[in-house]
């Protein structure tokens, strides 16, 4: 009982800590602006104006980038790097989630800004032909989180695939008895740029089932259970990049022995 109380206290502290970490972060809804810079492939810039502060931010570094026909939910931290290759201060880390709010598409010229030359992101999986190093044991119960765009269950390229690939490598080596996949959705409404935003409760189940189906394909024969929870709380897992809202929109794979 004492241990449980301590655990609850620790969890509360962690959650509170994560929740408090919104200081210095920005979160707003905007119609994206595409700046047509050309430094080679994938080098165009994405900009988004925060109507409340009047600031324009460079949101290009988001793992899932905007669609110029729809508004985006921007969440990020002002970058320590003061360079402005896109003509605005950058958010990094940053997430942009496509919302079902139509926008007038807007493209502006490069105006002398170079954009960014494309480099492979850090979370980039190797081809199947490259052997994955076997993670060392001993193996014990472990949780692998995967993160999503607002209200979506779609695996994010060069983000979720990397997280899952790492998890699969570990699971294949550790051979747990089963995997419990829990989907979470941030269903508690929050006001952002005058809009009441909340994820659909169904998103939690959709995320659990998407991850479960993917894991069934990647680790055939693995016993998988699915659960889902709404009103997700933030976590401080490093792959959410310190963005509490991103950490809420997740699924967790718990390897159980």
């Amino acid at each position: 009982m004492k241990r449980l109380a301590l655990l609850v206290a620790l969890c509360t502290a962690t959650t509170a800590q994560a929740a408090q970490d919104t200081a210095g972060l920005v979160r707003y809804v905007a119609c994206p602006v595409y700046r047509d810079t050309d430094a080679g492939r994938k080098s165009g810039c994405w900009l988004a104006d925060d109507r409340e502060t009047g600031k324009r931010w460079d949101v290009t570094e988001s793992p899932y980038k905007p669609d110029w026909n729809f508004a985006v939910l921007v969440e990020g931290r002002p970058s320590a790097n003061t360079a402005q290759p896109c003509g605005a201060p950058a958010l990094d880390p940053v997430r942009t989630s496509r919302l079902d709010i139509p926008c007038t598409r807007h493209m502006i010229p490069a105006e002398g800004f170079p954009g960014r030359r494309y480099t492979l992101p850090r979370r980039n999986i190797a081809p199947l032909s490259v052997a994955r190093p076997v993670p060392p044991g001993p193996y014990a119960e472990r949780v692998f989180p995967v993160y999503f765009e607002f209200d979506k269950d779609f695996l994010v390229y060069q983000y979720d695939d990397w997280l899952i690939d790492n998890a699969v490598t570990w699971i294949k080596a550790a051979k747990p008895k089963k995997l419990v996949v829990t989907g979470f959705a941030a269903t508690v409404p929050e006001k952002v740029s005058g809009l009441e935003l909340a994820e659909r409760p169904e998103a939690a189940q959709e995320r659990a089932e998407t991850i479960a189906e993917t894991m069934r394909r990647l680790v055939p024969g693995l016993k998988i259970e699915t659960k889902w929870e709404v009103a997700a709380k933030p976590t401080d897992e490093p792959d959410a990049d310190g963005l509490p809202w991103q950490s809420q929109r997740r699924a967790e794979m718990r390897a159980v022995f």
Partner: protein, 507 residues
């Protein structure tokens, strides 16, 4: 090489797959009309398929290699008529046409047989089986644009064995051929008739190759073959309805061949074994010479000997086989005619344009949605045509270029037009209501977001198998370039367009 001459060819020394004795015997048939063997391979004729087989076309010479050949085709299920219509697989997958079917071959067979060739079978070699079969106009889609009728179940019933509940409805807006509005072949009968080009049955190891474990366009790990449990490449069929050769051949046997019984395990094995041994590509450019000489290292032998599934952006760049033609040494150049030199330089420029000419890709599902590249995204042809040696997609290649869907598709009054209404989330680019000639991958996945997506085409042997795109909208290679220019306002110069045409002409 002169017309009608039978020539002996030795394969390159690196040809590890063929024993020397077979190499020496490998016979290249000058099957070019005249006094040579017929270009058309008729079902059941029992010819021997040589290990090396060359066919001339307008841009040069196509070469087909059959590893382990020659192959006796008598009794082989790819070459024997298996169904009631007298067709064989080879009917629509002709060696002279890069194992696809050119509209030139279709017309020649119509003229030679007065429309009696099994190719023109009522089931799918006519615009609709209900039409009078002795009239040319009843076969106009095949004769004019090389299109075969594809009958899909509606509502979509399965995807790799999993039940699908479509999130869209389909209505027939226009039906010039009577199939979709009639009681037997349209939605009223639980079917949809669409019209598509036959895809090449060659270079299969590339089309089956799996580079990464995920399908970034669908947001899942790759589906597994229900038979062997291995991940499926998703690059075989235009609508990805068959993820393995076994599923594909069973689908083709019951539909295109009208087989009344299932393929036997022995027939399936023979078919798969053959399909995995066939490589085809252009060997000689009519103007530029052999594509494996003078700095170029292309051609079917290279395809046969290379590892499939490599991503060009992190390995051997796509079409870098022609890099050696960018700067031909003076002593080498002196051996070429001015025409040869100019063509080789043009092909090399075309390869660079293919890789490096950036443009804004917009509103194309599979690229701009749902995978998070953004809409628009700046990239070049190799963004999607990214596999070394082949130019197909290392990931499953379901992309909507707009070739079948309004407003991007060209106006065609001979194709059926469907109105798709999304019942769940709207399509990311078209909205809730979509007008399309062919919903493509959506007929397999049941997802509105997949309407208009067609699996990327193979780019090898193009010169032998016009017209292009799944619905034959481009009658020639220039038409392909022109479509991309219209669709994406790329801004190709006239020189760049010609260089691209010259490149595609020698693949």
């Amino acid at each position: 090489m002169r017309k009608g001459k039978r020539l002996m060819h030795l394969l390159p020394q690196k040809s590890f797959a063929l024993p020397l004795a077979v190499l020496v015997l490998a016979l290249s048939v000058g099957a070019r009309g005249g006094d040579g063997p017929d270009r058309w391979w008729a079902p059941g004729e029992g010819r021997v398929l040589p290990a090396v087989l060359d066919y001339d076309n307008a841009n040069g010479t196509l070469r087909m290699l059959t590893v382990g050949g020659p192959l006796k085709t008598a009794g082989h299920p790819f070459f024997e008529p298996l169904g009631k219509d007298g067709r064989a697989c080879v009917t629509c997958h002709q060696p002279s046409d890069a194992m696809s079917l050119s509209v030139d071959s279709v017309r020649r067979q119509w003229d030679r047989t007065n429309g009696k060739d099994p190719l023109f079978a009522a089931y799918d070699g006519s615009n609709c089986p209900t039409l009078p079969q002795d009239k040319r106009e009843s076969h106009s889609l095949l004769l004019d644009r090389g299109l075969i009728r594809i009958e899909r179940p509606w509502p979509a019933k399965t995807f790799n064995g999993n039940p699908v509940k479509p999130d869209f409805t389909i209505e027939v807006v226009r039906d010039p051929n009577g199939c979709n509005s009639g009681p037997t072949y349209g939605p009223e009968a639980g079917k949809i008739s669409v019209y598509r080009r036959p895809r090449p049955v060659a270079n299969m190891k590339y089309l089956l190759a799996v580079g990464f474990p995920f399908d970034p366009k669908q947001g899942y790990a790759l589906p597994l073959d229900p038979e062997d449990g291995k991940p499926q490449s998703g690059n075989l069929m235009a609508d990805n309805r068959a993820g393995s050769l076994r599923i594909q051949m069973e689908d083709a046997a019951t539909t295109h061949l009208q087989m009344l019984k299932a393929l036997s395990p022995a027939e399936r094995k023979q078919l798969q074994d053959f399909e995995l041994r066939v490589y085809t590509a252009m060997q000689v450019s009519k103007t530029g010479g052999a594509v494996d000489s003078g700095g170029a290292v292309a051609g079917p032998a290279r395809l046969r000997d290379s590892e499939p599934g490599a991503l060009g952006s992190i390995g051997e760049p796509v079409w870098s086989e022609f890099k050696g033609c960018e700067r031909i040494p003076a002593d080498e150049a002196a051996k070429l005619t001015p025409g040869q030199l100019a063509m080789r330089q043009s092909i090399a420029r075309g390869a660079r344009v293919f890789r490096e000419k950036m443009f804004l890709i917009t509103d194309s599902a599979g690229i701009n949605s749902r995978v998070g590249f953004g809409n628009p995204v700046r990239n070049s042809c190799v963004f999607c045509h990214n596999m070394s040696q082949m130019g197909n997609d290392v990931a499953p290649g379901q992309v909507d270029l707009g070739t079948t869907t309004l407003p991007f598709a060209d106006p065609w009054d001979d194709l059926p037009l469907f109105r798709v209404t999304c019942t769940g989330r709207p399509h990311p680019h078209y909205g809730k209501v979509i007008y399309t000639y062919d919903p493509g991958f959506a007929l397999t996945s049941g997802k509105c977001a997949d309407v208009g997506k067609i699996t990327l085409q193979s780019l090898r042997g193009l010169s032998a198998r016009a017209p292009y795109f799944s619905n034959g909208l481009a009658k020639d290679l220039r038409g392909v370039v022109d479509y991309y220019e219209r669709r994406y306002s790329i801004g190709y110069t006239e020189q760049e367009k010609q260089d691209l045409v010259n490149l595609m002409g020698v693949l």
